[in-house]
């Protein structure tokens, strides 16, 4: 598990991540600390880690997903607003 590497694109930049690992974890590992801006413009990041709170919403291949329960796949294109 987690030994296979996957190349993904994060906001246009290439990142080497672990195939099958939850995307939110790969992003945190790579030093991304915020995933979303709230209604009032606050930075938000992973909070529940189990698909409940929707604070980790990012776009993967154009579709909105919860990064904490979305496994990394080679070739994925990830987008979110960085602070």
């Amino acid at each position: 598990m987690h030994t296979k590497h996957a190349l993904i694109k994060v906001n246009g930049k290439t990142l080497e991540a672990r195939e099958g690992e939850m995307l939110a974890v790969s992003l945190l590992r790579a030093g991304y600390k915020r995933f979303r801006k709230s209604v009032k413009g606050e930075d938000r990041s992973l909070f529940c880690g189990m698909g409940v709170c929707f604070e980790c919403l990012v776009k993967v291949n154009g579709r909105t997903v919860r990064a904490c329960i979305t496994p990394v796949k080679d070739g994925m294109e990830v987008e979110f607003e960085e602070s």
């Binding site: 945190l28 209604v39 938000r44 992973l46 529940c48 880690g49 189990m50 698909g51 929707f54």
Partner: protein, 438 residues
């Protein structure tokens, strides 16, 4: 809109949820030659208790050992569908709408076993939305599923033995535990001190737990949290006294609430029982909610993995036309223990009333405590009314985080709100998938 083709599938029993309860049930149904399909929203099996990296599966307790054996036995089972979210239930046809790998599927089961588990509960404070404040459950998941330590040091705050368990795992993974701030005073916990250390776990980590015990403080609540350079500044309050601690990460957890949304949609009766974690499914002693619907695990009352395991097995035996009085007895024992535990580690009622006005309550829509209070003063005392008046619960999580908070706030004001009624989809999904469900 282009119509997607919808696959329709029949099965005898639909198991909703692949946590330890759902998996235990599946295994018993297989042994009894029953037809079933188990679905789970996650891309992995095991729910909250068994979501470990397969390379690291600690067999340190009988429940874990049994759980991981189930995971192995069922790993390649074709009737278990991961990545499958339940989004609706249609009463007229008794059909359940799913989204499997992004595509719609309709299942028509004869019976349903609801094992949708629980989520965490929170007592909010100003600053709890900062990126460095995360749930204790998230810390646990990061460590046990991915081997990822989210920070070098952390404070764990809230209430319950779960905090201690997560802090223990954090320390074992190399993190520095600065403090475990148990909200309840030691005097309240003394009567139930055995629960502080789950005896099953104690064997392996007793020394460690003792070490952590020295880091545990009692009776302090978080007043607010602020950024202070790279760190967080946590202000604690106890009987008018204040203390300030700095940390890289603040992990919070105030207990659990059952995920009853799918059951509500199926028309199952729910009751409010604080000693079981809030709104729970009402069942008879054979775990029946209604003629064809059964429940197992956290949905019947917050009681941990052992209770969930027993209930999964029991429900599946009943569904197979058998009876097992010794399991029923074990279940009764677990329920009694759970009630004591939940009552001991509850958030003191007055604290729901003293949440500061500026605190965000609904994280999706940034609705503050002030707005909730004003709505309540203007006679919006149902969750639905508060939702309309303030937008709390209108966002993506559909109130899963804020409704339990608002419910406790209203109950502390002697108002007993009904749970909010549920409409499909139970969780928001890409519209493209949903086009053909009508």
């Amino acid at each position: 809109m282009r119509r997607a083709k919808v696959e329709k599938v029949k099965t005898e029993i639909l198991i909703a949820g692949g946590g330890i309860a759902g998996l235990a049930a599946a295994s018993v149904l297989i042994e009894n030659g029953k037809d079933f399909i188990l679905v789970d929203e996650y891309p992995f099996l095991g729910g909250q208790f068994l979501r470990h990296n397969p390379l690291y599966r600690p067999m340190d307790t009988p429940t874990r050992k049994k759980g991981f054996e189930l995971m192995e036995r069922l790993a390649n089972e074709k009737r278990i569908w991961k990545n499958t979210l339940i989004v609706g239930y249609y009463e007229e046809t008794d059909e359940v709408a799913l989204v499997r790998d992004g595509k719609p599927v309709i299942i028509k089961p004869e019976k349903i076993l609801i094992a949708t588990g629980a989520r965490e509960k929170f007592l909010p404070f100003p600053g709890w939305t900062l990126p460095e404040v995360i749930s204790a459950g998230a810390v646990q998941a990061l460590i046990k599923t991915s081997g990822f330590l989210p920070a070098e040091d952390a404070i764990f705050a809230g209430t319950g033995p779960f905090l201690l368990a997560v802090a223990y795992e954090f320390a074992k993974a190399g993190g520095k535990v600065i403090e475990i701030a148990e909200l309840n005073p030691l005097s309240k916990l003394m009567g139930f001190s055995s629960a502080l250390i789950d005896l099953e776990k104690a064997r392996e980590g007793f020394k460690y737990l003792l070490k952590l015990f020295g880091k545990t403080t009692f009776g302090w609540r978080i007043e607010r949290v602020e950024k202070s350079g790279e760190k967080l500044k946590v202000v604690f309050e106890k009987k008018g006294r204040r203390k300030i601690r700095e940390t890289s990460l603040l992990a919070i957890g105030y207990g659990f609430v059952p995920n009853i949304e799918f059951a509500q949609l199926c028309g199952c009766p729910v009751i409010y029982d604080a000693s079981l974690g809030g709104w729970v499914l009402k069942t008879d002693d054979e775990l029946r909610c209604s003629e064809n619907i059964y429940a197992a695990g956290e949905v019947t009352g917050i009681g941990g993995a052992r209770k969930a395991l027993i209930e999964g097995e029991l429900a599946a035996l009943i569904l197979s036309g058998k009876r097992d009085d010794s399991l029923k007895k074990k279940r009764a024992h677990e329920m009694a223990f759970a009630k004591k535990l939940n009552s001991t580690y509850s958030v003191p009622e007055n604290l729901w009333l003293s949440i500061p006005d500026e605190t965000i309550i609904c994280r999706c829509e940034d609705v503050t405590m002030k707005e909730i209070k004003e709505a309540a003063e203007n006679d919006f005392v149902s969750l639905k009314g508060i939702k309309v008046a303030t937008r709390a619960g209108l966002g993506n999580c559909q109130g899963r985080t804020c409704f339990p908070i608002i419910t406790e706030f209203l109950r502390a004001k002697n108002i007993s709100p009904e749970p909010v009624s549920i409409r499909p989809p139970i969780k928001p999904i890409d519209v493209g998938v949903f086009v053909d469900l009508e």
